[in-house]
Symmetry: C2
Subunit: 445 residues, 2 copies
């Protein structure tokens, strides 16, 4: 008698080399996948305490969002269509420093968790301030998360004195995970242009000593790369390498303006890359050389970035865009085919976060992190190729049910861990306050 059985599904395990399994089922026991089977005969299904009929829909690993700033949902649509500098300095930084507190970060992260769950994300990597509050929200929502405390060399939300930024990061790393299997902790050094070399080195030392992941924004804009080269004479990769920052526990986010020598360096050092195409386009940052990085063997995942620059946390949009963008950019319609893109959003994303042993594929003994996608809908009909549909045609609204660690977070689009009306009401109250705060910000010419 298993804990739970999901049946009547077209199962995509996303394990390398494995194809779709029609009439598939998944049995879950103790939060892990216990059986993966196929049968057209209902009487052959294994017994389970709880059963979910996928109604012919797709069952696949939950999506892995490798880069998010969950509490930035507060800034969703507050300031669009601006230059990066105007957006950062005119809105995001002042609102972050002057308005946010731990409670608002908690509620923002919980709102983000609601969106992530409804969009089929089961694992999220988050980098922001008040990381304890983010971690608590992810714990309460039931998501698997890698939560990283932000570090910058200027006053930040919750860290008014930048001289204590590493102290705050160390305290967060050592504060102990709430659910060690499901929530891991890391450090998110914002970037080489907001953190000096000493900060970068010492932050990396903190994570290295603990075997924790280290995230940073790398080479997002051409300007920052030019500035860095002017300042140091080095390319971004060479600069970080000299500081000793490049290893298998480092996740380079964006990685847009990397010369080939830096791409090779990242590959050689085993650095992981988080690709956030929607944010890169919206901020006019550029297009990351993902096909080249993949060819070099770099492990690449997809990320949404924060809702301030996206403006949603929808991995389906990232998949659709990643699959298309590199085709036109590289002038080759065979680049990043659908099955590969779906792998980036699942299996490879889990590997980026060091969770490949646990999540990202459906296999016996892996955590039961899975989603059910309804296909009985006009835009997914007819169905010849489930990978194609998931990447090119499906959307967040098609996710019916979501399980993390064997626990349902969403069943038939209803939350099980979150009270949406109460959350929405709390969020709207705070948002009115932020809108008022934002109106009082000085407008720059």
């Amino acid at each position: 008698m298993w804990d739970c059985l999901i049946y009547n599904a077209l199962v995509l395990t996303m394990a390398p080399g494995e194809g779709p399994r029609p009439q598939g089922y998944v049995a879950v026991q103790g939060g892990k996948i216990a059986v993966l089977g196929q049968t057209g005969a209902p009487q052959d299904l294994p017994p389970a305490r709880e059963r979910l009929d996928a109604q012919g829909g797709l069952v696949l690993p939950g999506l892995v969002n490798t880069h998010c700033h969950a509490p930035m949902v507060w800034f969703r649509g507050l300031a669009d269509d601006l230059s990066l500098q105007e957006w950062l300095n005119g809105f995001i930084c002042p609102a972050g420093a002057g308005w946010l507190d731990a409670d608002k970060v908690y509620w923002g992260a919980l709102l983000a968790a609601a969106e992530l769950i409804r969009g089929g994300v089961t694992t999220v990597a988050d980098g922001y301030f008040y990381a304890e509050a983010v971690r608590q929200a992810m714990a309460d929502a039931g998501l698997r998360a890698v939560v990283a405390q932000g570090v910058v060399d200027f006053p930040a939300p919750g860290v008014p004195d930048p001289a204590r930024n590493l102290e705050a990061a160390a305290a967060f790393l050592d504060s102990g995970a709430i659910c060690p299997d499901r929530l891991t902790s890391g450090v998110f050094c914002h970037s080489p242009y907001t953190c000096g070399p000493e900060t970068l080195k010492r932050a990396k030392d903190l994570t290295r000593a603990r075997g924790a992941p280290f995230f940073l924004h790398l080479a997002e804009t051409r300007q920052e790369v030019a500035d860095l080269e002017r300042r140091t004479g080095l390319s971004p990769g060479a600069y970080l390498d000299r500081l000793g920052l490049l290893d298998e526990l480092t996740v380079a986010v964006h990685a847009v303006w990397l010369p080939p020598s830096d791409q090779e360096l990242l590959a050689r050092r085993g650095v992981k890359v988080s690709h956030c195409p929607e944010s890169n386009l919206k901020l006019a940052a550029g297009v990351a050389p993902i096909p080249a990085l993949l060819k070099l063997g770099v492990t690449v995942g997809l990320g949404t970035d924060g809702a301030g620059s996206n403006n949603d946390l929808d991995m389906w949009g990232e998949m659709s865009l990643a699959a298309r963008l590199h085709k036109v950019w590289g002038r080759d319609p065979t680049l990043l085919p659908a099955p590969q893109v779906l792998a980036l959003a699942t299996r490879e994303g889990a590997r980026v976060l060091g969770l490949g042993h646990l999540a990202g594929v459906l296999a016996i003994g892996q955590a039961a992190d899975l989603i059910v996608v309804a296909v009985d809908q006009p835009h997914l009909t007819p169905l010849y190729d489930p990978y194609s549909h998931l990447v090119y045609a499906a959307g967040a609204g098609d996710v019916r049910s979501v399980m993390v660690d064997g626990r349902w977070l969403l069943v038939d689009r209803r939350f099980t861990t979150l009270n949406w009306p109460a959350l929405a009401s709390k969020v709207r109250d705070y948002a009115r306050d932020l809108a008022e705060f934002s109106r009082r910000l000085p407008r720059r010419p």
Copy 2:
């Protein structure tokens, strides 16, 4: 006593210069918009036979899809990630010629209509073969449509003898619209590389004589533009201009590889442009110079293209991509801000199709073509700026209700004109047959 009242809405009329109207309502009479009002007091709402509470959601003009090949939903996901030539010659053309008939075109178009309606499209411009069957499907679904009969100089579905392609187009134009206000007829000359100069000229003459719209794919790929120049010594715009094809009733679809002189020519002649960014990226065709065309005063709308190359008919994806793509392509994050992109998908799209007097904005006397979008959802919370949400965060799944000509086609996501289970069953039967047919196609190396 009005026919219908939609109330408790944030109304976006999309009329130039008009902002959002909180606590708005729309009264509908005889298929037209009769009243646009605002009140917070329920007792002040006008009386109506039928009432729909928008529950605080957005009410805006229905989306206008300016380029579609509805029956190509049959080929959705059948052949992805291929070169344009391999895709066209290996799959699309043989399947079109060898498998399609009028009945399959009808059912395909009806499936497309279902997807369009659920995605908030109220007007679609379609170009394909067996155009009578497409028109019948759009009539049965209740959509507003401009249906154009396809013309190519080789055997096509329903037109085995290319010498009779213009005869077929003329017969379609003269066959009489089923609902003259809601369904208009046009001609879709596939492209200058599939139609010779005589065909192009005579097809344009057919439409000019009838005041009907003329569509063609223009400068979609770099290769075709190079070939045309080699053959004729002319750029695409100059070539069409010499043939007398450029006027206000011509819609140039794609318009990717247009030199500045052609862009100016299109502007001068009043030619309209349909921009299909998702298809252009997926086929690695290129990026159309939309900001430049807009600057020149060209009327531009958005289109999905067919589901064979997209793979959905989702205008929300087109909006999100259009808003982002030109920012990165033009290296300027202020290009194509959200309100402008939403205008392209509504008001400007209607103008592209010559329907600006009827659809595309909510104004008294315009047709009641409108949609209700639910905002009480995590990914649309908080709500500071509805234009931003609609372009950057909303999706087809957020459309709750859809009205065309004062008639509901979708209410709370349930179809009123279509029987989805019966349609889905019919479609799946045919799709199995197409999959079988496709497997028998010779595979090219």
